[in-house]
């Protein structure tokens, strides 16, 4: 029951924010209160959890004749992703405090509803309900980009919607096919996992699921929607897109591919690793060539999500643990960079690296934050990103060392784009040569929290890995070569 409340809370919070919006900042506080309540509820669930993998499970039959039921369950992986969603929700509200001045009610409602739908994705174990939430999260995210974005925002929003909705049909079709193959029709993932399917059937089903997941992960060549959506979205939209929405793709792949199609995943594993390695290199190389700081960060997201794909496809213990950590690490580093770039854009009205610089002299807090998160981008040891990437690469060494060397070459590309960002923003002559307001408290505290999270996970990864271990063990289906 508590799990359903976890989904309903932001949905209702969004409604309230929508209707009470008006003078003052009420809707902002409602949104913050909603996300804070979610965090409290989450902590309560985890604290009162029984022994074993599942913190909580509910199952209500809904349409028994078609085998549709409300199946929700939460383990360490879902719990950490939900905590990040709620936390980034609060951060998004704070980041858009001065940016969003029109239709503020709808904006905050969209934020809440995006989070509600993603939490549905993180909890559902009924494939039809999963697919419902999967499609549902596109609508409020579309609104966020199309209404409050910059530049050609309608175009970017449409591109985002079309790519993801079309790919979602792959998921839906495969879910229907899978449900009809069971003895009695069911969408329950646990029951479907018991089925003995031939490898070729598994591969086809996996391709259907993967279409949706890879587009959401934005692994090249399926990434084309992401750079525009991230760049043109308002700051809060970029934060949620990078920190939460991309993670649904990673989560789906991590959770359902090994669970439902173990042999199928083993069969396509080399192709998955190759696709991920090529994508990581490609995303990194394109990022090196960007002049728009936000677009640069968007392309680094592509590179990092490709590394997650590599980890999941490799399917060995190290790689899976790395992929799980990388998901979470990327949430912090990318969101923080989007927040910082958004705050800078509000002050200077440009994101062009050639027109900025010298923050180190005019805004030291900005500069320090950029330095830290650029270190995370280039996976410096001590940051969470290093833990993730290093574990993925160690895992891939166990599978195939050629792929592993390819994966390591992304480390070199990452240092080029990260230092380019640093050189363009932090070093050099102060540009614009005018006093610049340093981070205010609404920007400072989120950045501080995300820095701490990055460093704590980086220096003390077992805190996170212990939480994720059951989910990682469950995803571990491939035998060691």
């Amino acid at each position: 029951m508590a799990l359903i409340a976890l989904i309903l809370l932001p949905a209702v919070g969004g409604l309230i924010a929508f209707f009470i919006a008006g003078q003052g900042e009420r809707e902002r506080w409602v949104a913050i209160a909603t996300f804070a309540l979610m965090l409290v509820l989450l902590v309560a669930i985890v604290a009162g959890a029984p022994e074993g993998r599942w913190y909580a499970q509910v199952s209500y039959p809904w349409v028994p004749s078609f085998g549709i039921s409300l199946d929700f369950a939460m383990d360490g992986l879902s719990a950490s992703l939900i905590a990040i969603s709620a936390g980034l929700g609060i951060i998004s509200v704070m980041a858009s405090w001065s940016e969003i001045r029109t239709q503020s009610g709808l904006f905050h409602a969209s934020l809440c509803w995006t989070v509600a739908a993603t939490i549905g994705v993180f909890l559902s174990f009924d494939l039809l309900i999963f697919a419902f939430f999967w499609e549902a999260m596109l609508v409020p995210a579309f609104t966020l980009i199309a209404v409050w974005g910059h530049g050609d925002r309608e175009g970017a929003a449409l591109k985002f919607l079309i790519f993801n909705a079309v790919a979602g049909f792959g998921l839906l079709a495969a879910a229907f096919a899978l449900a009809s193959m069971a003895d009695h029709m069911t969408f329950n993932a646990f029951e479907l996992a018991e089925m003995k399917l031939s490898t070729s059937v598994q591969v086809w089903m996996l391709l259907g699921f993967s279409l949706a997941f890879l587009v959401k992960l934005s692994v090249p060549p399926f990434h084309a929607w992401l750079p525009e959506a991230h760049t043109l979205a308002p700051t809060a939209g970029s934060i949620l897109l990078a920190g939460v929405l991309l993670k649904t793709g990673a989560y789906g792949l991590f959770r359902f591919a090994p669970m439902l199609f173990p042999q199928g995943l083993a069969a396509v594993s080399p192709y998955g690793i190759a696709l991920g390695a090529a994508g990581a290199l490609y995303g990194g190389l394109v990022a090196c060539g960007q002049n728009d700081a936000k677009r640069l960060v968007a392309y680094t997201s592509i590179a990092h999500m490709s590394i997650v794909l590599m980890g999941i496809a490799a399917g060995v213990h190290y790689a899976l643990a790395g992929a799980a950590v990388e998901m979470i690490a990327h949430s912090f580093s990318a969101s923080a960079l989007f927040l910082l770039i958004g705050a800078l854009y509000e002050r200077t009205h440009t994101r062009d690296l050639r027109q900025l610089g010298g923050l180190q002299q005019i805004a030291p807090r900005f500069a320090a934050a950029f330095a830290l998160f650029c270190s995370a981008l280039l996976a410096l040891p001590g940051t969470a990103n290093f833990v993730g990437e290093a574990l993925v690469v160690v895992g891939i060494f166990q599978v195939n060392w050629v792929f592993a060397l390819l994966a390591l070459s992304t480390l070199i590309v990452s240092v080029i784009y990260a230092t380019r960002l640093l050189k363009g923003l932090v070093f050099g002559q102060p540009r614009p040569n005018a006093p610049l307001a340093d981070l205010n408290w609404r920007e400072y505290w989120p950045v501080l929290v995300m820095s701490l999270a990055t460093l704590v996970i980086g220096l003390y990864p077992q805190s996170l890995l212990a939480l994720l271990e059951p989910a990682i063990k469950a995803a571990l289906v491939l035998p060691l070569p």
Binding site: I162, L285, L380, L405, L408, F427, Q462
Partner: protein
């Protein structure tokens, strides 16, 4: 006292945290006191550890476990070494760092307060990272420290952030060493997977049982990583540019510590390399190549810091040579002595240039002997030690040990020895070239004296070590488990004569600057260096064509982007300029303001080969590859493909729309065709 070991790096780390994070304005005195204190404390903490070790408390390979963490996937064992190797390296690092930081308290005192604070914070973080590298007995602590010093090096080289040259130099250092780090990480990961432990001693214990086909790539990858950090050919290009940082940074990072990290790593993993002889041979080759080429290029530098940078590269080449020949103890002895005299050289050069109006050009130092006598004499003593003047300097003892190890290293020993002795002679020449210039008379004597106890004490201590440290070389080699080689009298005498010959050569070169110019001219026309021009014309022209094509296809934006990338993707000073020949050979040194200062009124030594032509080839190749890839991809062709695909729907729709003519005869035609199709289908099924 061994229990103090884990706390040695802690004061430096605390110093960094306090200086960088304390949200309180600190006064200048407090900042300097904190920064210097945090760097001196590790040396004080280290002293009792070293004493207990000297009393017999440690053996080779001994390590103290610090933490054992079950990460779930594996058990991470963090440990610190307490063996002679870590005592020698740790003691050197702690001592040199403490002295350099004391010196910088005076040298940097005129910087603005925020910059001063940033300087000390970064130096302290660097020291903590370096101590972690030195004491690490497991790969996790090792790599953590390794990358920390890389990042700090970037930030410190780019310390004068307003200078584009400094920022580019910092980026170049970080990117180059990162390429090497990727190799290192790969090697360490493979070693970890083969041995199943993160402890270095455990890994080395697993080496004898390993398949040689597996061992060679591991050793090769680790060697490449170490050589990159140590600025050995072909990774060396970042080190000369790194001189854009403040002088104390060069004195600490780019002489005694960071570039020495590779040497320390190779020495620590010596058993691994002993088991992979072909990799050791490669290491030795790269070492001697760097030692000789570095000495040659140092000879024709016009900037004293650049000269010292190439000298560092060359001296570390000697250490790498010894490591490749299986004599880690000798390499470590040379490391300790080199750390002392090289930081002495940088620090005293800093004082001399301070008194010469801040210029680091060699010509600008003319007359320094009369302006700053004690700084000049410390520099001269450091130079004597660097040259290895026999018997009276420490450098001779350690270099002689290296030469002896080379002589007795087997069939290739004699030719290698000849090369190494030539490099030793060139070392004498370039070191004393500066001494003779700085020692000569100059009209300009009116410079304010500068310096105080904070400058005198470090110079005094280092001078002392650079002279009498030689007495300890034999003991050092024995302590770290080696035995000095005894070689015939003739090579010993020749080895001792080489630096003296070098000094004579230097005297001649300074008296006849045209000779030096002729040497530079010759070098400029060595065929190998010409390859660079071919690369330039071939690749850069081609690159411009690509950029133009892209530009026409995609509007001016892509062309501008490509042009910006050509300049920025990997920084190669001068290559994007319009005058490729002059710039390619002159490099940074040929920039007009520098020439003006260096050749002010004197016989001009114009356009020397100071741009490190050998290394430039690599940069051009890397730049062209990365640059052309990025230029090709930056408009994101896949995205365009998708948009074209989406556009094709529009066309299809246009076509489909034409069917809707609204005319009855067209509609009836479609109905008739549909009926025909259905009849055809029915006919097909009726055959069953």
């Amino acid at each position: 006292m061994a229990s103090l070991l884990p706390f040695v790096p802690v004061p430096a780390l605390i110093g960094f945290l306090v200086l960088s994070l304390m949200p309180v304005a600190l006064s200048r005195t407090v900042v300097i006191a904190l920064g210097v204190g945090a760097a001196v404390l590790p040396a004080i903490l280290f002293a009792p550890v070293a004493v207990s070790c000297l009393e017999g408390g440690c053996v080779a390979g001994a390590a103290v476990p610090i933490l054992s963490i079950d990460v779930g996937v594996f058990v991470a064992q963090i440990a610190m070494s307490l063996d002679p190797l870590s005592m020698v390296t740790g003691g050197t690092v702690a001592l040199v760092a403490a002295l350099v930081l004391i010196y910088s308290g005076a040298y940097m005192a005129s910087e603005p307060l925020p910059d001063l604070r940033r300087y000390f914070a970064l130096m302290n973080l660097f020291l903590a990272g370096m101590l972690a590298v030195v004491f690490a007995a497991d790969v996790i602590l090792l790599f953590l420290g390794w990358e920390t010093i890389g990042l700090c090096s970037f930030m410190l080289i780019a310390f004068y952030t307003k200078l584009p040259k400094a920022v580019s130099a910092g980026r170049k250092a970080l990117i180059t060493t990162r390429v090497a780090d990727a190799f290192l990480l790969a090697g360490l990961m493979m070693l970890f997977l083969s041995a199943g432990t993160t402890r270095l001693d455990g890994m080395l214990a697993a080496v004898p049982a390993m398949d040689p086909w597996r061992l060679a790539p591991i050793a090769g990858l680790i060697a490449l990583g170490a050589l990159g950090k140590s600025a050995q050919f072909p990774f060396h290009t970042w080190l000369p540019s790194a001189m854009a940082g403040p002088t104390p940074v060069s004195a600490l990072l780019h002489s005694a510590t960071m570039v020495a990290a590779g040497v320390i790593l190779l020495a620590r993993l010596a058993p691994l390399f002993a088991a992979a002889p072909e990799i050791s041979a490669m290491v030795a080759m790269l070492g001697i190549l760097t030692a000789a080429a570095g000495a040659l290029i140092a000879l024709i530098q016009t900037d004293v810091k650049k000269l010292l940078a190439f000298s560092t590269m060359s001296q570390i080449g000697f250490m790498v040579l010894a490591l490749g020949l299986g004599a880690p103890a000798v390499a470590l002895a040379h490391f300790a002595i080199h750390a002392a005299f090289k930081s002495l050289l940088f620090l005293s050069a800093g004082v001399m240039s301070h008194a010469s109006g801040g210029s680091t050009a060699i010509e600008a130092l003319r007359g320094a002997r009369y302006r700053q006598p004690w700084a000049f004499w410390s520099f001269a003593i450091g130079a004597a030690s660097l040259a290895g003047l026999p018997v009276i300097t420490a450098g001779w003892y350690s270099k002689e040990a290296v030469l002896a190890a080379v002589w007795s290293s087997g069939p290739c020993g004699v030719p290698l020895w000849l090369l190494a002795a030539t490099a030793a002679m060139l070392t004498g020449a370039y070191a004393f070239r500066v001494v003779f210039v700085a020692g000569s008379q100059s009209a300009d004597l009116a410079a304010p004296p500068w310096g105080g106890a904070a400058v005198m004490v470090p110079l005094g201590v280092l001078t002392f070590v650079a002279v009498v440290g030689g007495l300890s070389v034999g003991a050092l080699i024995g302590f770290t488990g080696g035995a000095p080689e005894h070689i015939p009298l003739l090579p010993t005498l020749l080895g001792a004569a080489a630096p003296i010959l070098g000094v004579v050569l230097a005297r001649q070169l300074v008296r006849h600057p045209r000779e030096l110019e002729r040497v530079a001219h010759r070098l400029r026309h060595v065929r190998a260096f010409r390859i660079e021009i071919l690369y330039y014309y071939y690749f850069v022209r081609r690159f411009r064509t690509i950029a133009t094509v892209l530009g026409n296809a995609d509007g001016t934006e892509a062309a501008a982007q490509a042009a910006a990338l050509r300049r920025e993707s990997i920084d190669a000073p001068g290559l994007a300029a319009d005058d490729p020949l002059g710039r390619a050979f002159g490099g940074e040194a040929a920039q007009p303001d520098f020439i003006a200062r260096a050749t002010d009124g004197q016989t001009p030594v114009v356009r020397l080969v100071s741009g490190d032509p050998v290394g430039r080839i690599l940069i051009v190749v890397a730049r062209v590859f990365v640059g052309s890839f990025v230029a090709r991809f930056s408009p994101d062709q896949i995205d365009r493909g998708w948009m074209g695909f989406a556009g094709s729907f529009g066309h299809a729709w246009e076509q489909a729309r034409r069917l809707q003519t609204g005319r009855v005869r067209d509609h009836s035609l479609w109905i008739a065709l549909g009926c025909a199709a259905l009849l055809l289908y029915a006919w097909g099924t009726s055959w069953r």
